[in-house]
Symmetry: C2
Subunit: 306 residues, 2 copies
């Protein structure tokens, strides 16, 4: 793999940025990588663990001379950061982001991108329930998707370089428009997260079942929900507030269907339940075939759990 950018600046040093750093280093994709985080504690941690070649004390310092600037802050903070660095951006540089919502990010960042600087929004579909600078690892993006959402008339070289970077970090890259991205993600990620958060909250509220019982006897169903519901609260708050319409549309359909299934349970309509459950099974098979998950009988986590 050869170097794609001389200088890369990571603004925000959480799971996504730190994994990008290790993945870029693994493949030699960037010359110098600078980093900045708003919290002094995070910057100190980054320095201690060797995250970034140079950790800067201001976003402006980090982006000076950078060929690629990656905004890795929560979606709700993207606009303010873009405004802050705007004047320091090098002509010909590319600004990108890693936000889970694209229409809102474009609306809040694009006005701050100066003439002669390229803006290519992106979204890597990868993550864990962990956050912070120490949670990153070089393999996070291997065989995962990264969606690029270039604006109309985007500079093709800027887009192709960013594609090369993500491919070099192990990801498969596709392009998509912003509104479609936000709808697809509402279905595959945003609504499921809200639902998981809700179910975990219900369990916690139930006075007749203790938390320790819930935890102890957590079978596959609930355990997978807690996994989802442990994700970063700030990030998810911003996702729901900024992808409001698509998320509420999906949740509306979800509650409609859930009511229909609840009624089938109440009236004892076994046929309806059976047909529904048979249909959903096929979707799972498709995911296995698409290589996005493992088919291991213990979900591949047996050894670590013992």
């Amino acid at each position: 793999m050869s170097q794609v950018y001389d200088r890369v600046a990571l603004i925000g040093l959480g799971l996504i940025a730190s994994s990008m750093f290790w993945a870029m280093k693994r493949a030699g994709l960037a010359g110098e990588v600078t980093g900045y985080a708003r919290s002094a504690e995070t910057r100190e941690t980054a320095r201690q663990i060797g995250l970034c070649d140079r950790v800067c004390d201001s976003a402006v310092e980090a982006v000076e001379g950078a060929d690629l600037i990656v905004l890795c802050v929560p979606v709700g903070a993207m606009g303010a950061v873009a405004q802050e660095i705007s004047a320091a951006l090098k002509p010909g540089a590319t600004v990108t982001d890693v936000g889970s919502v694209k229409r809102h990010v474009i609306q809040s960042v694009a006005p701050h991108i100066p003439e002669g600087v390229h803006f290519v929004p992106a979204h890597p579909l990868a993550g864990t329930e962990h956050s912070g600078p120490e949670s990153g690892f070089a393999e996070l993006y291997d065989n995962r998707w990264c969606l690029l959402v270039p604006a109309e008339g985007s500079d093709r070289d800027a887009v192709e370089n960013l594609r090369a970077l993500w491919e070099g970090m192990g990801a498969n890259v596709e392009e998509m428009d912003a509104d479609h991205h936000d709808l697809v993600l509402a279905v595959t990620s945003h609504a499921p997260h809200l639902i998981a958060y809700t179910m975990v909250g219900v369990a916690d509220d139930l006075s007749r079942v203790t938390d320790s019982e819930v935890i102890k006897y957590s079978a596959a169903g609930f355990r997978d929900f807690t996994r989802i519901a442990a994700s970063d609260p700030t990030m998810w708050r911003d996702v729901f507030l900024t992808n409001k319409d698509a998320t509420l549309e999906i949740l509306g359909r979800f509650t409609e269907e859930l009511f229909a299934l609840q009624r089938a349970i109440r009236t004892g309509d076994g046929e309806q339940l059976f047909d529904y459950f048979t249909r959903t099974r096929a979707i799972r098979r498709g995911i296995i075939e698409a290589g996005q998950d493992t088919d291991a009988p213990d979900f591949g986590r047996g050894k670590a759990a013992q």
Copy 2:
């Protein structure tokens, strides 16, 4: 590990029974293990893969002379099977089951248990999204819970032998009463499964997003849902029909909370969302500490997925 039963009969030869067979053999817990499945195809498969020491062509033949009879059929079929084998049960034998619902199983099986035969309902909290005789493996119960739900006045020796069997197969064993069991499982397993089924169904229905997109871009949230929603449709139909009250109670609370969060999204109440998501994170930590899941950054499945 020493032998607990001379003769064990497995009625129904799916994931749970086949895993029990391999786990009993691994630890030498049973002398002869007989097996029966209603489908001739399943019996043939069992014979081909060496599942059970002897595969019988009737449930009556399988249970003759058995010291332990394990009912491994869907919850809705338990009563009919118990009636069928009733006259063939050996005095002093123990009948148990592996159903996910306990009050209903007790109501439908207990009337068919003859005087002098013990009935000790049980429920191993383990499974995968796979089903059928070929899906079993000896490690399924390692470090998982098995709940015993003995009726009042149950023979303590019968209970202790069954406990020894499950512990010998790798499980941790606790006792619980039937109603509490059904409520705990409604929270930790039954309601989450219905919710996952629903979300996967919604995704499938959405005409503006293709199934292939849903599958391709399935991020952590939705992927975990499809994992749950791929479980055996017959088993789950029966669970919902037979644990109706507890499941509907939990689903009622769930929709109430979900509506509150939807309203927070609609009104832009970020504080409420943030507080809610922060609270749910703590439950996840408890599960990791209880050793019921792995803390690996890629959920322990990175290698298999690549």
